[in-house]
Symmetry: C2
Subunit: 214 residues, 2 copies
């Protein structure tokens, strides 16, 4: 967030931010609670969860470093936000942030751009949920993770997944069994290796990408 502000603005936003570390598993925001928290993700990964009318949990968004959490204009949170990997956050008091936005239009434009980017990514995700088969979903998910988990802006060849199989299912709209079977299929095909735990090694980037496109 801080990147596109002028020096003066930046200092002002920084001044009202509180650095806070939150452990994996902690819930940052409960759906329905008053929307008290706004923050930038400095490190770590968080999930945005909605509960469907039938009780099933669905993950509608993932937050990576640089992403913004919270809604300045809604009184109560629409979704639960939970930390997946120990996270550092830069937390802003809602009132103070609103004040900064009132006084500094550049900050507001930044939030608008960010919201539009998130909308774009969410729509891409919709395409995947709607039309792709399980194999393509998993491949696309791994490609996305490899990209987003790589700090240097490239595509990581090896990384630890920030979530369980069941959570991957909640992201992709499939069951845990399907996720597991597709992982196995990719491993057997020699496209990835699964050295244990939540680690993933991408052995054949090109073939993985081809499956993701299907």
């Amino acid at each position: 967030m801080c990147s596109a502000l002028g020096d003066g603005d930046l200092a002002r936003v920084r001044a009202i931010g509180l650095r806070r570390t939150v452990a994996a598993g902690q819930v940052l925001v409960w759906a329905g609670d008053p929307n008290a928290i706004c923050a930038n993700v400095v490190s770590g990964v968080l999930k945005i969860v909605r509960v469907a009318s039938d009780g099933h949990e669905h993950i509608v968004g993932l937050l990576f470093p640089g992403d913004f959490v919270g809604d300045l204009f809604t009184e109560s949170a629409r979704e639960t936000v939970q930390v997946l990997c120990d996270a550092d956050l830069c937390v802003y008091p809602r009132g103070a942030l609103r004040h900064v936005l009132d006084v500094h239009p550049a900050a507001e434009r930044l939030l608008l751009r960010r919201a539009l980017t998130t909308l774009d990514e969410t729509r891409k995700w919709m395409l995947m949920l709607g039309r792709k088969d399980a194999s393509a979903k998993i491949a696309a998910f791994l490609v996305d993770m490899a990209r987003r988990l790589d700090g240097s802006g490239g595509v990581a060849g090896r990384f630890d997944l920030p979530m369980s199989r069941s959570e991957i299912g909640a992201v992709l709209g499939t069951t845990i069994e399907t996720v597991s079977r597709q992982f196995t299929a990719l491993r057997v095909a020699g496209i990835i290796a699964l050295p244990g735990g939540r680690a993933v090694v991408i052995l054949d980037q090109a073939r993985l990408a081809r499956r993701a496109a299907a």
Copy 2:
């Protein structure tokens, strides 16, 4: 858009808007084209289309009266926007609108709120694509249409669908055959009537809502 602006702002935005009528079937924006058009929908319905990597079309959004079309900050359009029902638009030249936003922060806040609302709706939609079965998708779609097509803010008991079966499939991530079968099932169950053309009559609002929740 105009509703939340002060009198002065409102007048200024109105002053740069050109009223334009676009016939059903016309494409307002082609994906990839320079993002020249920004507009408010005054009447009519439009669809936002993305083409998946396998060539399949998917509808990622519908635009109803009051909605805003266009992206001020992206150079080329990410999606195709096509008119479903003859539409009246209030078109703004991109440059002029940007200028208004630069000078009047209230207008920018309005766009931000709108973007967040759209994101919220898109995420609701994601839940549907991910977990619901065909019956629930169709029911939820009809409930949503009944609500959004009713000008007076309620739920319409009778309305004309603004799109073909095949387009409904592209919205819900199913095939045209599945859409048709589910419509028939709802009709046979006495929940809706299909008096011909694209007309739909909701006979049992409660049961429809119950199916949508499943």
